[in-house]
Amino acid sequence: MYIGVDVGGTCTDAVLLDKGQVKATAKVPTRADLLSSLLEALDVIMKGTPAELIKRVVLSTTMITNLIAERKFDPVGLILIPGPGLNHDYYRYDTDTHIISGVIDYRGREIVALNEAEVDLAIDKLAVAGYKKVAVVGKFSMRNNAHENHVASVIKGKYPGWQVEIGHKVAGQLNFPRRVVSAMLTCATRDKYEFFVDSVLTALDQRGIKTSVFILKADGGTLPLATSKEVPIETIYSGPAASTLGVQALIPPGETAVVVDIGGTTTDLALILSGQPLLARKGAKVYDQRTQVRALAVKSVPVGGDSVVERAGKEIIVYSERLGSPYCLGGPMPTPTDALRVMGLTNLGDIDKAREAMNLLGDPLGIRPVEVAARIIELVVETITNEIDQMYIRWEKNPAYRVWEVLQKKKVRPKTIVGVGGNAPGFVSQIAARMGCYPVIPPYFMVANAIGAAVSRPTLQVNLRADTERGIYSIQEEGYQGTIKDRHFNEEKALSLAKEWLARRSEKYGLQDDLGEVEVTRKEVFNMVRDWVTSGKLIDISVQTKRGILHYIGTGVNCSGD
């Protein structure tokens, strides 16, 4: 049996799955102590089920998102090695930032060496300022990590107790500013996250759950909870990823659909294209800070069932804030939920209170409660449908760098709008009507997120880059740099080398049984020509364990690989 738990902003949801059937569900409020909410939900669904039967537990949590939002962490100092390019004034962060000399180019060649005196000075200044956490990040460090590694080792030599993160280990894609942010946030959250992970593992152990425990990542894959300590920020936005996977499990395989998860204060939108959730082209943005974290393309719209509705002159306006529960549930202000109640689209709360809320807004304008309610729902629906349109436009605008990519671009418009989350039923049919789609409210829509967590599966990636002219290769995820001795090294050999590293990584994470089919997600080979003669090849290969989910719910379809 599989367990999925989503510790969300307001609710913690849990499900117990057995061969694609939902055996138990739980919904409890999320309290400040995330662990206690998690355990409470877990205890509800585990009632009567022996712990030994649990094969896998997958969590998703707002833990890291909360930490970052509330800035509950020690300051992180930065040592950056940006070299030429953008003016260094662009690298201004809300912390002490020291920029030192040293240049690595796009092929990983050292153009300018580090200046030891500058390295020492930067470290000493951070020490004087009281920093004990440092992120060291260089431009093109994933092509050559020597500079980052050297600075880190100097720090370790001087201050063994400091926590040091190096850019290429955290964020190996091209994009230096995002690498800086990713490294900084990793450094900031790591110790608190470690503490959380250890508490969860201890608590599960006390309940007799000795099986493997995973955490959901923003891209919809999972990592063993213990190893996720290395990459805490990969777990941001695991909530929206959970809902999207949940819908993927609740609709027929291969379907194309828009996922609309309407919560109390936000509505999350995602796309499932031919059965696969769409990945964002760029890394996730955390409170305006751009990271390199691979994530599903989820758009959060600040409107939900608890959003405050007010009258301004003759206008009725839905605000993005929440000031408590809906009026019909004893809250202070009218909300879209009150409108739904008046229109008979929900059974939540007290109908008289809901009407009263509509009267508060409508009386001065001489509009009847039903009309006020209709207008509020209209406003919410309009906001959401506009955002869905924008999401398509963004997706179609994704750049293409090859002729075939441009040619295969076509307009895809899903026919199905799937609503999940507590407030979905009241809105989804109208959203669908407006977009000319079919509305679907799947069974278990209230706990789709927990189902998504339960059916998610481990994903591991390996990005290999080989430069045969220079006789070197690197494995992005491991920060490994090796040499190529084989004079006949080519694309096929690069691919088997990448697969070898993927297998090695799977073993390292105890996931060798999950390796299964390997997907090649990128294969680029460039001939390097100098003076009309081919002098070498640049080979970029990305391989990953198969993406997807373990089960479709209620269909009895058991996916391969398990």
Binding site: N87, L174, N175, F176, R178, R290, K397, L407, N527, V529
Partner: protein, 458 residues
């Protein structure tokens, strides 16, 4: 809301090459991609990246006579490169974008009006196709193109040679020392577009300093006088000091300063073959200059201030050329038309055009109607020998956007007559920009095609 952005279309055509080891190959923009992506500039709020779209056959036919047909001269990569420029052009004209950079390949500035094959790595002219599109679609009246490639932009020059509404300025390495061997100061445009072509040949070894002297004292004053509604930079980068094809000494900073001062609506990438030592830095610097960002920290790895010196006598030579071209521009409306172009009904010139990539030799007779009501229609007779097989001979008629009724009528008579009487031509073409109608007649099959778009009214 907010700031107006710089639009970027980066289309490196990672799956297109002329041949595997040709300078115009897949690898050309690879390191540029690495640099641009690693800098993270596309995340800047001032820059927005777009996906390219394809130009249509109709868009190509508006600019070129492709022999025998558009489809036989262009690949999808060409349609994407032109389409990218058009897409950015649309958004700039509509006011959505402040300016744009089509960082695309394949390049186009050596492609002329008649296209028998590939010359100077180009098949079709991305800038010219955009210009004709912007005029047709948005009714833009006056445009200017400044070509900063080390090679003379002979294709662009040829296409607009008789067009008074398109100012073409090219500075480049002296044609006596580099392909295509043209672009001298006396090439100034046809009778109806005199001084709307300006060539500034520079001696090999010219540095940023002289480059900017020419910009400040000649190019900018002419542009300020002409006042184009839309300004395009054919942003070739082979004037760089590390370029393997050119012998000039421009730097990334020099190019970026040029872009900032010129402040074009659009930059379209042309040549530039120092793919490692120049292009990553140049493209980054030009993009940042367009977006109004500080590019002062962009430096080539081996660049040291003061590393280039020019010979004073060469500098003096350039200053003199600037003087005389300024004089030409000042007196552009007073030239002796009869003395320069004769008094015949048509002004005509003979051209021999060599397609270096495809080894084709073309002989061309170009006639333009000396009309005082409009820029005049053109009749082109062209024969090309591919070195094997038979000579292909074509007759092509082109009607300008602002043609007068007489020129329109006459031009159609020439076309119809050609179909019936001029048996020596294998293909006969009509390019009517005034009604956006493009026709082609194949004698062998006795068949006529109309490109998509509005059909001619009978």
């Amino acid at each position: 809301m907010g700031i107006k952005k710089t639009g970027l279309i980066f289309f490196p055509a990672f799956d297109w090459a002329i041949s595997p080891t040709h300078p115009e190959r897949e690898e050309r923009l690879l390191y540029t991609r690495d640099q641009i992506f690693e800098e993270g500039v596309v995340d800047l709020p001032e820059i927005e990246e777009f996906s390219p779209r394809l130009a249509t056959i109709h868009d190509i036919a508006r600019t070129h006579f492709c022999i025998p047909r558009v489809q036989s001269q262009v690949t999808e990569a060409h349609l994407i490169a032109s389409g990218a420029a058009m897409l950015l052009g649309d958004r700039i004209v509509s006011g959505e974008l402040n300016n744009g950079f089509a960082m695309v390949r394949p390049p186009g500035h050596h492609a002329m009006r008649v296209v028998h094959g590939n010359r100077g790595f180009c098949n079709i002219n991305n800038e010219a196709i955009m210009v004709e599109y912007l005029r047709r679609k948005h009714g833009i009246k006056k445009l200017a193109i400044v070509d900063s490639d080390v090679h003379h932009g002979d294709g662009t020059q040829e296409i607009f040679y008789h067009d008074p509404d398109v100012l073409f300025i090219s500075f480049h390495q002296d044609g006596r020392t580099i392909f295509p061997g043209t672009g001298f100061t006396h090439e100034l445009g046809g009778p109806n577009a005199y001084a709307k072509t300006i060539n500034i040949p520079l001696p090999p070894g010219t540095t940023d300093e002289t480059f900017h002297y020419v910009l400040d004292h000649l190019i900018m004053p002419i542009l300020n006088d002409f006042k184009p509604d839309f300004l395009i930079n054919s942003a070739g980068q082979d004037n760089h000091y590390t370029d393997p094809l050119g012998s000039m000494l421009f730097t990334a900073q020099g190019y970026a300063d040029f872009t900032r001062k010129l402040n074009p609506h659009m930059a379209v990438l042309e040549g530039g073959y120092a793919i490692e030592t120049a292009l990553p830095y140049l493209n980054l610097a030009i993009l940042m200059a367009l977006a109004g960002q500080d590019y002062s920290y962009v430096r080539e790895p081996d660049y040291r201030p003061g590393m280039f010196k020019e010979r004073p006598e060469k500098v003096e030579q350039v200053h003199k050329m600037v003087e005389s071209l300024l004089d030409v521009w000042a007196k552009k409306d007073e030239f002796d038309r009869e003395k320069l172009f004769g008094s015949g009904k048509f002004y005509q010139r003979k051209k021999n055009i060599y397609y270096d990539t495809d080894y084709i030799e073309e002989e061309q007779l170009e006639k333009v109607r000396q009309c005082d009501q409009c820029p005049g229609y053109m009749i082109i007779e062209s024969g090309a020998n591919r070195g094997y097989g038979a000579l292909i001979r074509v007759l092509a008629v082109s009607i300008p956007f602002t043609a007068c009724p007489d020129c329109q009528t006459e031009a159609y008579e020439v076309y119809e007559q050609g179909k019936i009487e001029k048996k020596q031509f294998d293909y006969i073409y009509m390019q009517d920009k005034s009604t956006d109608t493009y026709l082609a007649y194949e004698r062998n099959k006795d068949q006529e095609w109309v490109s998509e778009g509005p059909k001619p009214e009978v």
